[in-house]
Symmetry: C2
Subunit: 351 residues, 2 copies
């Protein structure tokens, strides 16, 4: 059976969940999908690096005791050596799941560039490389005849980019609007029950939805990166974060919440990109008091959603999880499936 | 440029909208999609039949005065001759959009069968043939090496079947639940404002949402057919309408509505199919008082939605229009795009 060899860059929650899926469901998936999956390299800042051209024993990796590095495993070292591994691995697909640096996207941008330049396809769940260097990286992928896939950069495994490209063919999409950050949506929902912003943030932190520093969620910079991706990918824009006017939810007061409720409205942090009649794309992140009948008004708690405004179909909306390690690992799997399909189509065309 | 020739069976609202799309947007679509579209045959119970192997002048057809038949046009006749046209047209795709007979699916089943048997792919928006004879028709399509596509049978152009097949690859779907009838959803929404069922139905009829006889919408038999399609297509079941326990909304009283509202719930007519742990698929249509935080609770008015329960991604939901002549015509266009893609993949494989 046909097989893809993977290199996992970063071995935190998401790539670890992907390894668990391959370990526990790999054979069944191979039957479903018509190809097998094997991990031949893993690197991680804390764990070091591991290369096994014949396939890594994922059971042994997943059973490593807390605090142990890869140094004790065959082919393992206690230092990450990301660039060396990315360039020299026998993997055909590099799975980038480190962390998003919202300023310059590093080190993920360099990881992706190195992988593509060395002729490997890349899947990432990292917003940074896509929002900040997407055009450059897609061009490098095309030059090297490989794929750059990033479904998980917007709404974890919930299909958004592929929803637009695969199921809305033939439609003209004039705008996208979304609830793209689960933490801020959870916080707004709790404020509707009478909590202050600070109380709601504290609860989100206690539940693990919000990080110790919730600024990127609350002030909208997380959504801003996602709006850049949606605008460029779905509306064909070429914007950067500087083009997205941004306001977070910190100025939405309990009084604003109550006033909206009295009018049958709910405050939501909406990321939006719209093509104007003159062809320009206008993108914003801001709190909006939506009427209850709006498609996004009922999206509650940590759920995310994106609405697409189309010419023939009006508005269609996809909602689902916007985070979660298994949900995000599925985004990587869906990208791997897309890489495989593209390779098969090319192989058939060349036959 | 590559081209598909179409035969339109039935020339009511939906196929007329498809003809308008081809007439007004055909060149632009061809640029987008990489293939052209030409209509070479049309039949209609009232208008008669029309065949032009070189392509029908859609402008002339769309400009026909009210009450005129095709008899006055070149290649036209005042009688429909459906079977003759379907078997003898030079079209490679037959577009079936007559009406749904919920008892035996005729005459659409015969139309689809004749087209597939004579080596033409078929797209239909007709629930009847898919729900009542889907397995037989898909088998005939496979035997003749052609496609049978029916995205529009469930939620007009809103992608549901293709959402599952194209964007949820690699997931195990254990259940689907949907709001699959816009009329009953509109009626329930109006009852929440204090109307009786009869008043709400009268308003839906005045707005054109409900037909003169609203029984199929109100009593759930429309949804029942759609649940059969979802269960068989997405869960791999082999059920018939008799296997779907059905209760409509006529027994939901104003008191039930008020009691649900007091508990933070909304009544919705839910079509559902679920795979039980022993592998059986249980399918129902019934009114359910959903909590407001449920993904389907916020789906208002004539909007439809389907939620998919998956193993790795939890619940994902698609919502959008469930009816409308242009929206349904887009379903046909999306099917034609799928037929084209399949043909290209085969052609590439054979090269």
């Amino acid at each position: 059976m046909h097989r893809h060899d993977l290199a996992l860059i970063g071995f935190g929650g998401v790539n670890r969940a992907l390894a668990e899926i391959i370990q526990t469901r790999g054979e069944e998936l191979a039957d479903d999908l018509g190809f097998g999956l094997r991990v031949v390299a893993i690197t991680d800042l804390r764990l070091g690096s591991l290369m096994q051209t014949g396939g890594i024993d994922l059971g042994a990796v997943l059973a490593l005791p807390e605090g142990a590095t890869f140094a004790g495993l065959p082919g393992g070292a206690g230092v990450p050596q990301n660039d060396f591994v990315i360039r020299n691995t026998t993997a055909d697909i590099v799975v980038e799941a480190t962390f998003t640096n919202p300023v310059d996207g590093e080190p993920a941008v360099s990881h992706v560039r190195a992988a593509l330049e060395s002729g490997k396809s890349v899947t990432t769940t990292n917003k940074g490389p896509v929002a900040l260097a997407g055009a450059e990286l897609s061009r490098i992928a095309a030059e090297h005849g490989v794929r750059f896939e990033y479904e998980g950069a917007v709404m974890s495994g919930t299909p958004v980019l592929r929803f637009a490209s695969e199921t809305l063919k033939g439609l003209r999409v004039s705008g996208v609007q979304g609830i793209l950050n689960g933490t801020s949506n959870f916080v707004l929902g709790r404020m509707e029950t009478g909590m202050t912003l600070a109380e709601a943030v504290a609860e989100a932190q206690a539940l693990g939805y919000a990080e110790a520093d919730p600024t990127a969620d609350i002030e909208g910079s997380d959504v801003q990166l996602k709006v850049v991706i949606l605008a460029n990918e779905i509306l064909g824009a070429a914007i950067t974060t500087a083009d997205v006017r941004r306001r977070g939810i910190s100025r939405v007061s309990p009084e604003d919440i109550a006033a909206a409720a009295a009018e049958g409205r709910r405050w939501k942090l909406i990321g939006s990109a719209t093509r104007t009649p003159d062809g320009e794309v206008v993108a914003t992140v801001e709190p909006v008091a939506l009427p209850l009948e709006h498609a996004l008004a009922g999206v509650s708690g940590p759920t995310n959603a994106v609405s697409f405004d189309t010419d023939l179909l009006g508005t269609v909306t996809v909602s689902g999880p916007g985070a979660g390690r298994i949900e995000t690992a599925y985004a990587l799997l869906s990208d791997i499936i897309a890489v495989d399909q593209h390779a098969r189509t090319l192989a058939e065309a060349a036959r």
